[in-house]
Amino acid sequence: MSESAKISALFKNESLSIRDRVKNILWMTAKETESCMGAFYLNCINDEGEVVFRFIEGYAFFTDKTHFPEYGYGEGLIGQVAKDGFPIIINNVPNGYLKVVSGLGQASPSHLLIYPFVNNAGKTLALIELAAFKQYDEKILDFLKNISSEITEALSKIQ
């Protein structure tokens, strides 16, 4: 069983909550790609009735659990990718965009990947954002593409 098939199978496991399933996907993907940070955003309707992509789970990404970042269509990189429906890889992320932290120090990862999960109708249902010190190779895109259809299918069922 390939890694992507394993991940897809994990996501389809309906006995887990959506948050746990997202967490599994994110963590495994981050591990697979040796990312230092990661975040998963889900298509939600906020209090004003607008469609936003809300942070629901992070990898080495710390939030105080009271406020989760959210982005509208076209807002920031996340919003842009959600709007376009195409993944982007940025290799020279400016200092301070993100910060990877451990006890020994902290630094901004210079490589960023944002991948949208788009359903057949062209609607972006969720996004995964990954950051690493190492450059991402193109294989990662194939990997994400492989799991994409499973994830959008499962997300459609939930929404």
């Binding site: 992070g58 710390f62 451990s102 006890g103 120090g105 010190f133 190492k134």
Partner: protein, 879 residues
């Protein structure tokens, strides 16, 4: 050498082979010529030229050449092949020798010997090379394993040497940095925040180029890579971390910056209890990772045990300290207990004394209570606002209330409404006058609902610190008030009696006069005081009077009841007085007659008047009786009726001596008139009218044979005429008569009936209809009386009587009689019908008796309403 030999060998063999070819060729040619020769001998001439002309022979002649050439080439080829095989063999021997040598080298453990396969076909060499690689790997693995085991052993040794987390951490990371080729390291412990109910990852040690820095850095789960590692519970290994990452710097390393980061969770019992972070310049080999993974468990277990040990030590310490404290406290408690015992003893003594005193006080209190309870006085204490604070127990037997019924309330509701104002006035007055007393009387409602008089003394003791209230001493003075009232009443009675015209005297049981009023003077001309305290026998009054009084007193004393008698009292002037004497026995509290009160009222005048009336009455009665006699002689008797109707009766009960009702009977051949007439009024006036009516009717029927109605019409005209009721201004408007008039033919049974306000009942008894009563109601017209225009004539009812039909007609005296059981209800005619029906099978005499009995049963002791006349006839045809 062998090569050269081989070559020579091969060269020779080529030469031999070529020579062999030539020889073989020549031989072949010779054979061919022989064959040709023999052929010629047989017929032909042999010649060379001829022979040469044969083409085949010609070709054969070239064969030695061809054979020589062909042999040469074949031999050359074979020789070259042989040469090749020879060379190959030599090479193979060489390779085997090399490989053998290499194999020997491997066998003797010289794995680093350089060896290249001879060529690509050297499979054995390749295999050996692969084998060597395998062996090298195995050896390396073995070495790695050994390395790890050694490192693990060293780590374990290190871990054993420390029993404090901080020092352990320091030592551990120093060791690990060395072991794993790292340059920097940090060590974290997971702590649990009890307040926030969350885990905190706290850095307890860090190593940076042998230089310690006390960093106190904490992470929350999920925060940064460390936090992520805590959540993920797996090693995070990241390479190519930028130069700027590491914040701990040192000059020693110069430009070199670590580029790889590894974060290892320390897990035991499924729980992350610590985290190790290491940074390396070159990165961490798999060996290092494996090593770190291996020791992570050991470290985790050690820390876990250490934590438990620390906790145990701390708890032990605490328990020691606590037991020491407990010891101290116990000592203190013992001391306190001793003190307490002493105090207790003192307290007991004091208590005993106190109890004695309490008992005394209690007894005193009980004494007081008992006194108060039996006191005839109620003591109450009031608050200034009028509520009761205290009531003495004596209230229970004086007024019936329990003190608790009243305490805390106001007494006003129990005070008589007329006395409330007075009560409040006194109360207010008392409050405004300290240390002064006021007395008042008022009516008060007892618990049993009776009213009593209370006299209360109100004293203001608001200034007395022991009381601070209004004291009220109350007594029930009802008896006194009653006595006073009685006294007043008696005085009034005395006055009444002194001024009365009646003789009033009280005689005691020894018949001596206790009291007599002055009225006696009028009869005996003696002062009433002369009679006092004298026996009734000694009184100076007429002997007969004394006897009568004596007898009366005797009866009164004996009969225990009030007696009234008339006595004849002859006074000092010998004048006779009639006295009505009331003898009223007077009893003491034991109901024994103490005395008799005699009240003599002079009724002489009344007596005389009464006698006169009696005389007059007698005269009137006599005259009325006389009138009755006259009336009786005029009015027909039952015997007359029976002459015409043998079974008939007249029931006649006058209200007075003379009657307003009268029966009328007149016979004219076959026809007989029978009537029951009721004149207005009764007694003498009724009788006078009855005589008028009777005479008029007799006069009318004597000369004319009139129908019943015509007779009534005529009677009416005569009555109006005689009583002058037709005249203007006549005062006699109401007199007249009601009449029930039958005209009966004795032979045919023909009946005519005319009634003025009166009905006729005919009881018929025949086979077809059974027993029934026919009723002719009569006209609602009077005979005589008020005249008005348009008055109708009487109706004449006609019918035929059968044998034994019964006729009943009567004045209203029977049916209008009020009953004994229902004084306002008249009997009504229904009752008459019932009696008639009930007695339909009995003789007429019996019917009459039943009707009379029914009348008396109904009337009982009631006064007779009016004269009563009823006539009943049982019709019997006469032949």
């Amino acid at each position: 050498m062998s090569n050269i030999n081989t070559k020579i060998r091969f060269d020779l063999s080529v030469r031999y082979m070529t020579l062999l070819g030539i020889v073989t060729g020549c031989a072949l040619v010779g054979v061919a010529f022989l064959i040709k020769y023999f052929q010629v001998n047989n017929g032909q001439e042999f010649s060379i030229a001829n022979a040469l002309s044969d083409e085949l022979l010609l070709v054969i002649c070239t064969s030695p050449l061809f054979l020589a050439i062909s042999h040469y080439y074949v031999a050359s080829y074979l020789t070259s092949v042989a040469k090749k095989i020879e060379t190959e063999r030599d090479k193979q021997i060489l390779i085997i020798e090399r490989t053998n040598k290499f194999a020997f080298e491997i066998g003797s453990g010289h794995l680093d010997t350089s060896f290249e396969p001879y060529d690509e076909h050297d499979e054995l060499g390749k295999s050996l090379l692969a084998m060597r690689t395998g062996i090298i790997e195995t050896v390396k693995k073995e070495e790695d394993r050994n390395l790890i085991m050694r490192a693990v052993a060293e780590t374990s040794e290190l871990l054993r040497q420390h029993n404090k987390i901080n020092s352990l951490g320091e030592a551990l990371i120093r060791f690990l940095v060395k072991q794993s080729n790292a340059v920097q390291s940090a060590f974290y412990i997971i702590k649990h925040d009890e307040h926030k109910q969350e885990d905190i990852i706290e850095m307890v040690a860090c190593y940076a180029y042998n230089r310690k820095k006390h960093l106190t850095k904490t992470f929350k789960p999920g925060e940064g890579l460390v936090g992520q590692c805590f959540l993920e519970r797996d090693i995070i290994y990241r390479t190519e971390i930028p130069d700027t990452y590491i914040s701990i710097t040192s000059g020693l390393l110069g430009d070199k910056k670590p580029s790889a980061l590894i974060i290892v969770p320390l897990i035991t019992n499924e729980k992350v209890i610590g985290i190790l972070e290491l940074a390396s310049l070159a990165g961490f080999s798999e060996l290092h990772q494996a090593f770190l993974r291996e020791i992570s468990e050991i470290i985790a277990r050690t820390i876990y045990n250490l934590n438990i040990n620390e906790t145990t030590l701390r708890l032990l310490d605490e328990s020691r300290r606590m037991s020491a404290e407990v010891d101290g406290q116990r000592r203190k408690l013992l001391e306190n207990a001793q003190h307490m015992t002493i105090t207790q003893e003192k307290l007991e003594q004091t208590n005993n004394q106190l109890e004695e005193k309490m008992l005394e006080v209690n007894n005193a209190h009980k004494r007081l209570e008992a006194l108060l309870e039996r006191s005839s006085e109620i003591i109450s204490i009031y608050e200034p606002d009028g509520t009761i604070r205290y009531e003495s127990p004596s209230i229970k037997h004086i007024l019936g209330y329990n003190p608790n019924d009243l305490i805390g309330r106001s007494e006003k509701s129990k005070v008589h409404p007329d006395d409330v104002n007075n009560f409040e006035k006194h109360f207010t007055q008392t409050i405004s006058h300290p240390d002064k007393s006021f007395t008042l009387q008022f009516r008060y409602l007892k618990k049993d609902g009776k009213q009593v008089w209370i006299e209360s003394t109100l004293t203001n003791l608001l200034n007395d610190p022991a009381i601070r209230g209004i004291i009220m001493n109350s007594r029930d003075i009802s008896t006194r008030i009653e006595a006073e009232k009685e006294q007043r009443e008696r005085a009034k009675m005395q006055a009444l009696s002194e001024n009365s015209t009646d003789i009033i005297m009280r005689i005691d049981s020894s018949y001596s006069v206790r009291y007599i009023n002055p009225s006696i003077h009028r009869y005996t001309h003696k002062n009433h005081k002369e009679y006092l305290k004298k026996n009734i026998r000694e009184l100076e009054i007429h002997e007969g009077v004394k006897d009568a009084i004596n007898q009366l007193l005797k009866d009164a004393f004996q009969k225990h009841q009030k007696l009234i008698r008339e006595i004849e009292f002859i006074d000092a002037d010998d004048t006779l007085h009639y006295m009505e004497v009331n003898a009223i026995p007077e009893t003491d509290e034991n109901k024994v007659i103490e005395s008799v009160l005699l009240v003599m009222h002079n009724i002489t005048n009344a007596k005389i008047s009464e006698k006169k009336i009696q005389e007059k009455n007698k005269k009137i009665t006599e005259s009325i009786n006389y009138a009755k006699r006259i009336q009786g002689s005029i009015l027909p008797k039952e015997t007359l009726l029976k002459e015409f109707f043998p079974e008939a009766f007249i029931l006649f009960i006058p209200k007075d001596i003379v009657s307003g009702d009268f029966p009328f009977i007149f016979n004219n051949g076959d026809w007989t008139y029978v009537a029951a007439v009721d004149c207005t009024g009764h007694g003498v006036p009724g009788a006078m009218l009855s005589i008028i009516g009777s005479l008029i009717m007799s006069e009318i029927v004597r000369y004319e044979n009139l129908s019943a109605s015509a007779l009534n019409d005529r009677l009416h005209e005569h009555v109006v005429r005689i009583l002058r009721q037709g005249d203007a201004g006549s005062e006699n408007k109401f007199d007249g008569m009601d009449i029930a008039l039958c005209k009966i033919n004795n032979k045919t049974g023909a009946l005519e009936y005319s009634g003025a306000h009166r009905p006729l009942f005919i009881l018929r008894n025949n086979i077809i209809n059974g027993v029934l009563i026919e009723e002719f109601k009569g006209d609602k017209l009077p005979i005589g009386g008020v005249q008005y225009k348009g008055r109708k004539a009487f109706t004449n009812f006609e019918t035929i009587l059968n044998e034994n039909d019964r006729l009943f007609f009567f004045s209203d005296g029977y049916t209008d009689q009020f009953g004994a059981t229902s004084p306002s209800k008249k009997m009504g005619s229904q009752k008459v019908k019932e009696v008639i029906l009930e007695t339909c099978n009995t003789p007429m005499t019996q019917v009459a008796k039943e009707l009379e009995r029914n009348y008396w049963d109904w009337r009982g002791p009631q006064k007779q309403t009016d004269d009563l006349l009823m006539i009943g006839i049982n019709f019997n045809q006469r032949n």
